[in-house]
């Protein structure tokens, strides 16, 4: 009896040691597997955000040691009318993305299922704009919007309108670039919606047809509600993407004329790498980060309540 007991406790102890060893081994494995990614990520993503926050408290040209000025960069920023124009323009991109781009993407996706000849071939062309680099798209559209030799003016001449100097007018420049953004990204949303439409069970439409539903009714009562999760996630992607916008504006207008198409991104870039106001630029950059953070938190909270209520859930 005694012997049995000791051997049992021995086994237990051995098992404990083994478990501990395995745990140690697991910790080692996890560390080895994760650390390459974590090191690169910490160096190029996490550290820079903290450094940006730190720089934003300095008056600093980038080369010498800066002077600590507390929150002065932020005070200056909130009194800077160019910054507010930039913020407004970022908002315009968000609104255009959500209310023009996404509906257009949905229409394009529905067209892919239209019973017409050649749609497959045409749909491969629909996707082209999303593949090209933004710089190439910007350069191409600069010439499309050219006041004299541009195709856009050629087209509006045809309909009896006068030539417009698109990219040099303060309002028309913004409209022109927003148009190009829609042109570039609508195909992306088309693909998202296509995948969602494929997932809708055919029987629902068949049942509706038996009940004598018109195509429009089928769309409102079946397609649209079932696409709601995709519309929500597309909107999130669009909003987050809008905050990051930079390339197309930088290439097409450079934020001009007279800051009319300035974005937070282009303004930050100019302050940092043209004017060498690195402290001030860091403040702009950190505000961009902060806005993105707020947006993400709002989305998370809404998502939490949505899941709780079960509305729109798949």
């Amino acid at each position: 009896m005694q012997q049995v007991h000791t051997s049992l406790s021995q086994v237990k102890a051995e098992a404990k040691v083994k478990a501990k060893k395995r745990k140690m081994k697991n910790v080692l494995t996890i560390t080895l597997f994760v650390s390459p990614a974590l090191i690169v990520y910490a160096l190029y993503v996490i550290y820079p955000i903290l450094a940006t926050l730190n720089y934003s408290f300095y008056d600093w040209s980038g080369s010498n040691v800066g002077t600590f000025i507390g929150l002065q960069n932020y005070v200056q920023l909130f009194n800077d009318s160019i910054f507010w124009t930039a913020l407004l323009n970022n908002t315009w991109i968000t609104l255009t993305s959500v209310f023009v781009q996404i509906p257009l993407g949905l229409i394009m996706a529905l067209m892919l299922f239209a019973p017409i000849k050649g749609i497959k071939l045409m749909s491969s062309v629909y996707f082209f704009p999303f593949l090209m680099s933004t710089v190439a798209i910007g350069l191409l559209w600069i010439y499309m919007f050219d006041p004299i030799n541009g195709s856009i003016n050629q087209l509006i001449n045809f309909f009896g309108f006068e030539n417009v100097a698109w990219l040099s007018g303060e309002n028309s420049a913004l409209i022109a670039v927003l148009f190009v953004i829609v042109w570039q990204f609508a195909p992306f949303y088309m693909i998202l919606f296509r995948a969602a439409i494929v997932g809708i069970p055919e029987e629902l439409y068949e049942a509706a047809e038996i009940d004598g539903a018109k195509p429009w009714h089928k769309f409102i009562k079946i397609t649209l509600p079932l696409l709601m999760p995709t519309i929500v996630s597309s909107s999130i992607l669009a909003i987050v993407g809008s905050l990051k916008a930079f390339d197309i504006f930088y290439v097409m207008t450079g934020g001009g004329p007279n800051h009319a198409t300035e974005l937070m991104g282009t303004y930050m870039f100019k302050q940092a790498f043209v004017n060498f106001n690195m402290g001030y630029a860091s403040a702009i950059a950190f505000v961009m980060f902060f806005i993105a953070l707020i947006v993400v938190i709002i989305i998370q909270v809404l998502d939490y309540y949505r899941q709780k209520k079960g509305v729109f859930s798949e």
Binding site: I30, M111, G118, F128, L139, M144
Partner: protein, 272 residues
């Protein structure tokens, strides 16, 4: 009657076709004109077929931009696939304390505005002595490709049945062995999506290149195109030739494997 009702559908389809396709037709057709022909007839399509613009573009250094883009893209994508897959393995398949935190930490990078990191990364590349070289781009490219890659890879890894892994463990496989011989072979579709997504995005990347590169020898394609704009201020056909050549690789890949490219590009958002 039935075919008549389809006319509006055809109309919409053709309008979409023209709006999405015309700029490309214009670009290629203009690239094939001489400057004189362009000024005479800026809108005529495929009226001439000069190849002079293309040879000019190569003489102006397009080849070196091209090579730089290939180098940076290949190295960064290769590295992202390896270290992204390595990190995704414990995050998706092992239980530990910081599991969820790590996952959120990585994928929150998808939401991050790049501008919030530009100045420190610029200073970092200067202090490491790699400013204005291709090395300066590799680090940020890997770091900013990790979030989407880990997002896609963990999604796929979670779906691999646990039993496969347990069987391998019984046979005395280590985690590295399981990762290499069980997980990786099953990940092919996900790895393909990760490669395509990142390759296209990095091929087209502009902001980091703009901040970290200044001399023409180190420029990647998007930056080089932007520089061409100065050289070709009045030579529209020349610029169009450059744009055509720069867009060609992706368009060719797309035409040969459409579904894969489409799936890869939307891999983060579309499951399956």
């Amino acid at each position: 009657m039935k075919s008549l009702s389809k006319i509006p559908l055809y109309l919409v389809a053709v309008i979409l076709l023209i709006v999405s396709g015309y700029p490309f037709v214009y670009m290629i057709s203009t690239a094939l004109k001489t400057q004189g022909e362009f000024f005479e007839q800026p809108f005529s399509l495929f009226t001439s077929f000069t190849l002079e613009n293309f040879t000019n573009v190569f003489q102006l250094g397009l080849t070196s931009y091209f090579v730089n883009s290939v180098i940076v893209t290949v190295i960064a994508v290769g590295a992202v696939v390896i270290i992204g897959a390595l990190a995704s393995y414990p995050i998706s398949r092992m239980k530990f304390k910081f599991n969820r935190v790590l996952f959120l930490l990585f994928i929150s990078g998808m939401m991050l505005p790049i501008h919030a990191t530009l100045i420190p990364i610029f200073k970092l590349s200067e202090s490491m002595g790699i400013y204005d070289t291709l090395y300066a781009l590799i680090g940020p490219y890997i770091a900013f490709s990790l979030p989407i890659s880990i997002f896609i890879l963990t999604q796929f890894m979670r779906e691999i049945p646990k039993s496969l892994e347990e069987a391998a463990q019984m046979d005395g496989c280590t985690h590295l062995g399981i990762f290499r011989h069980v997980i990786m072979p099953m990940l092919k579709p996900a790895l393909m999506a990760v490669i395509i997504y990142n390759a296209i995005h990095l091929w087209n990347e502009f902001v980091f290149a703009l901040v970290l590169i200044s001399s023409p020898e180190s420029m990647t394609l998007p930056l080089g195109l932007q520089a061409f704009r100065g050289d070709f201020a009045v030579n529209v056909p020349g610029l169009m030739a450059a744009l055509t050549l720069a867009s060609l690789p992706i368009l060719v890949v797309y035409l040969f494997s459409q579904e894969k490219v489409v799936k890869g590009l939307t891999g983060g958002a579309v499951k399956g």
